[in-house]
Symmetry: C2
Subunit: 366 residues, 2 copies
Amino acid sequence: MRKRTISIATVAAEAGVGVGTVSRVLNGSDQVSEATLKRVLGTIERLDYRPLRSASSLSKGRTDAVGILVSVITRPSVMARLVGVIDVLSDAGLDAVVFNVENRAQLERHLSSIIDQRRVDGIIAISLRIPKERITRIRKLAIPLVLVDNSLPNLPCVYIDDVAGGKMATEHLLSLGHRRIGFIGDNARSDLGMSASENRYAGYLMALEAAGIGPDFDLVARGPHSSEAAAVLASALFELGKRRPTAIFASSDTLAVGVIKEAQQHRLKIPDDLAVIGYDNLEVSSILDISTVNQPLLESGTKGASMMVSLLNGEIAKPHREELVLDVVPRGSSLGIQRNSPTKLYGVVEGPQGLQILQGGEELVS
Amino acid sequence: MRKRTISIATVAAEAGVGVGTVSRVLNGSDQVSEATLKRVLGTIERLDYRPLRSASSLSKGRTDAVGILVSVITRPSVMARLVGVIDVLSDAGLDAVVFNVENRAQLERHLSSIIDQRRVDGIIAISLRIPKERITRIRKLAIPLVLVDNSLPNLPCVYIDDVAGGKMATEHLLSLGHRRIGFIGDNARSDLGMSASENRYAGYLMALEAAGIGPDFDLVARGPHSSEAAAVLASALFELGKRRPTAIFASSDTLAVGVIKEAQQHRLKIPDDLAVIGYDNLEVSSILDISTVNQPLLESGTKGASMMVSLLNGEIAKPHREELVLDVVPRGSSLGIQRNSPTKLYGVVEGPQGLQILQGGEELVS
DNA sequence: GTGAAAGCGCTAACAC
DNA sequence: GTGTTAGCGCTTTCAC
């Protein structure tokens, strides 16, 4: 409570050394003798001194922070990627500054603030299409940019082939003998350029064509990204009577949930009357036994963030492009096979007040 | 490409004014004549100049960023609060620096880095208990701290009364005539101090006692926060035969999903053989028609962030404590009433390629 | 109203 | 090895 503010100068004075030496100690330079190191460290400890971030940022010319642009953060798939990104950045000692982008205007606003003010050392864009002009500008300013769940030439990115995924999902249904396969997906959005659903749709069409089945647009429906909307759309498809689909590919598990719920309302048995496959392998698909296309969501985030870390450390020279693998996870909603009970994974024990499943890595209150 | 870096001095020189004037313009001071304002603004525009964040931070002594400490970010309820926080901060022009906290060690690490380096102007802790020593330190440094989904004396916080919520949920089941009511919740964790589930359990016990029903620990089970774990625990309760519960209060919707899924495996009809109520009113509860206790998740985030904004603007003097209201949302899993079809909410139209539900606020690709 | 100059707290290049 | 010093780019008195 004595000093107004305690800076590097205070420490230097107190320890009887120059500020340079203190700075060296702070930054782990080996140009410091054992003796002074100890002394300075001691003073720092005693004074409880911590260097001010903004000062060193200004001096060093970097912020040690990474901006994360996220499209519609509430979507579980986006969330999962974000978590992966944050974890890796955090481990690398980088701050994760998160920007939620719900529309084009926000995207522009955030981008300009991030880029122009140099708030961050690098930018990770998740499931987002960045306007060309911005890309150009970012390039010119030499700000590292990594794309997660998107792809652009000459830019480091973690790419997932949604077309292939859509194809795989549809082929799965085809392999089960289905011919009248419906598609339920997201509205195509021009503002944020999230094209995942449309790409999966393209894969769907390709698979059908390869199987010699022409597209039937009566079996195709799009809407907002919610279970409720999917339920409504599914309902419309079910009303087609004889012409109704025997299987539906929903471009995300969230939509698949709505489809299945609605099927139950219509007394359609899953998968006998209607087979369903979703996409993303969200937790909900596992618990509701919904077939799906697994994409490594968390991994896409960690991979992207790792790229960023490498870029910032100057370890990577040329833009790297990583493509993650997809795989169909067949479950009850298409196969009708009873899924394995998860019981085996857990050991239930008698706890102090009721039953308990102990979990690893956490201390339990006794 | 001429100048190395373009700073406030460049602008000043180019505009033929002093740096002070440019700074005034930048910060919207009214101490600038109309003429110079115009000229400086013009030069800024022409030079495409933007002030550097870290420089003004150092000078101003603030970062215009807020640190958000989040416990186990993957939980949907936590996510929802986070989204609320980010949105408000973003609108206020504050950067949201997110720290994911999975264990006590991480909490300490992040806290010390945030606090000591003054990376941020304020801290918002979501669903997290901050150790006393840290609170003391934060207080001493006069760093604004807001608690969301937690409460501490003399600290601004957005509080949700989980005990009351647990009581409400249990009373709902009691009111339906149930006497053998089970509880499935999270393991109590000492490291992060997330006590929501335990508080709801306390409410559950209170409601039972008020109804003259003694606790039966055979009907109580705890485990990790996942549907799978809940399913396993539910299974154990179902095996009690005659003594099995006729209703279950799951301390979160995520757990309720597991309970219901497992009930179906056991051929228990919902809600006739087993009534279920969850907590949080997550999207999944709506689509699966699960009764729940609604808590304004997003609002807790926005409220908390608003408090922070006020604090940083010096608008609030004493710590404010906001308590959000809870309400039971009775649905099919306890009442057995067919929920309203969401169909009415949406208008399905004939799109260019299949059916479509148009959504407001988004441009659709034609 | 406006310019000049003194910091803000740290880093890094340069001397010794 | 270590001290000294000149910035990093901006804000903010304080004169004029």
